[in-house]
Symmetry: C2
């Protein structure tokens, strides 16, 4: 947890009086999470998760909360924000913006098989289809523009060979315009640890706080780079084919997307190489972010740039 804000039972019990979910039975901190403080909250009427936003600007939060509400309303297993008696999702607790969401069932699987990759392809397509009727727009906070600016910030901290690699990739990516591809609201961080499995089903897709408007194919690339890679970063052919075929069954890929796919896998790898470089070289004061190895995504980017390893999108 990046910054921990304590919540007392008494403060929470008082706060819950403006909800319709009964009396507080139990409050328990959750040790996972790198951006927000999270707690399990049990009341006489149900089980919920309380999130206190530690660093995100309050003005950006309604986009995420209404997105989660929209996707839940469309039947997808995402945390549904709970409205208080004033019909509002967003409140304040311990001096921080705060929201209660529904608690979802299941746990993550860091070694998913072909069947689970098939299920994730269908889920990602479901998120994209439901998102098409979402009325609000907010840019992908880690989109093409952020990648340019982040590269400029981290470049000086890199050895010469990494600088050259980064420069070459930025030149390569500047030749592509993602805005000509099908757009929509994307999760943008659908890693294995953001999915809870409840038996064979996806019990929950969590952590929508990187979501935004971008090319849908960028989301597919982020997801494939994580779910379908072997330990060395190489894509597993069977899992990749299963995820892509399952996605395409709900939302067939366009010819422009098929042409853009190899570059998109690289753009998605670049995004995580850059954010990990930034977390490593330029950690923000007051945060205790779990620093992940930037080298993992530098390796993935190199592998995706080797064109003979790129799987094709299904026609």
């Amino acid at each position: 947890m990046s910054v921990f804000t304590p919540v007392t039972d008494a403060d929470l019990a008082d706060w819950l009086k403006n909800y319709a979910i009964g009396r507080l039975d139990a409050l328990q901190g959750i040790s996972a999470g790198v951006q927000n403080s999270n707690f399990f909250v049990t009341t006489s009427l149900g089980r919920y998760v309380l999130t206190l936003f530690e660093t995100m600007p309050r003005a950006e939060l309604p986009f995420y909360l209404h997105l989660m509400a929209h996707l839940a309303r469309h039947g997808l297993p995402v945390p549904a924000p709970i409205a208080n008696r004033d019909n509002e999702y967003l409140g304040s607790l311990s001096g921080k913006p705060a929201v209660l969401v529904s608690r979802l069932a299941g746990k993550s699987d860091m070694a998913p098989d072909v069947a689970r990759c098939t299920r994730i392809g269908a889920m990602l397509a479901g998120l994209h289809l439901a998102g098409q009727s979402f009325g609000r727009k907010q840019a992908n906070p880690r989109g093409a523009s952020w990648r340019q600016h982040c590269a400029a910030r981290v470049r000086a901290h890199l050895p010469a060979d990494e600088q050259a690699e980064l420069d070459a990739e930025l030149v390569f990516q500047s030749g592509f315009n993602l805005e000509t591809l099908p757009q929509g609201v994307i999760h943008a961080d659908l890693f294995r640890d953001n999915v809870l499995w409840d038996g064979d089903y996806v019990g929950g897709v969590i952590d929508f706080y990187f979501a935004g408007q971008d090319a849908l194919l960028f989301d597919v690339a982020v997801t494939v780079n994580d779910w379908c890679a072997d330990a060395d970063g190489q894509l597993d052919a069977a899992r990749t084919a299963a995820l892509l075929a399952s996605y395409a069954e709900s939302r067939p890929f366009t010819p422009a997307e098929r042409a853009a796919w190899p570059a998109m896998l690289r753009a998605a790898a670049l995004r995580f190489w850059l954010s990990r470089l930034e977390d490593f070289h330029l950690p923000r004061a007051g945060e205790m972010v779990l620093v992940k190895d930037p080298g993992e995504y530098r390796r993935i980017l190199r592998l995706r740039a080797a064109s003979n390893t790129t799987p094709l999108l299904p026609a």
Copy 2:
């Protein structure tokens, strides 16, 4: 099931293309339910219930669906209607108005103990509190006006002693104006078979198709008459006290409600005596409603009218 409309796998699979919940895996009819046709629907992304409305006017359905959506949004375990890709809840299938809702966990308990009556009191208060911010209004379809008209319809079918009892109760009830009591949207049919238990928790409150605007206390009386009665209809003191105290913890009763309580228990008994008399003597053509014994609620009405058995509302 009152009237059964078949749904084919092919028709449903086609219909689901306008949703974002993946591909149809399984369709299974549900034998319970007296007004609508219900089916379990399993897709690649989750488990849902499909309802086809057999007799209810289409124009009345949005009130119920938006009420369920509103209560779900407030964190209560009710069937949440699923929006299709046009952002609509209500569609058409096999020529009938049709809706998909979330599938809830648990099963009914026809012999609830004090702990479960405590939980139900809190749940009913939660429904009432969340309902206060619901923007739509539709009258209780089995309210005071319906009771007058239904009595006129069934009277001629009753023996003289029952006619006299019914006349006396209508005169007694005409002395009370429920509209002076706290109002809101009420479930109006919160019987034990409309609640699913998931361990110690309420996993689901179902069947909102009698809901409407009325005195909140009428809903409390309907609930107490069912949940807290012994086999002979007499109220069990411990369960009644537990349900009422738990409700009052979230929504304290007003002095006017305490004064109206004995009459309200009788009004709630009268409502079910009347509807069962109507189902028995005046069954509607084309329906196969499960006819329940009217005598049970005649007995409950008599017991509630014997003032020495009426429990007091908590102050």
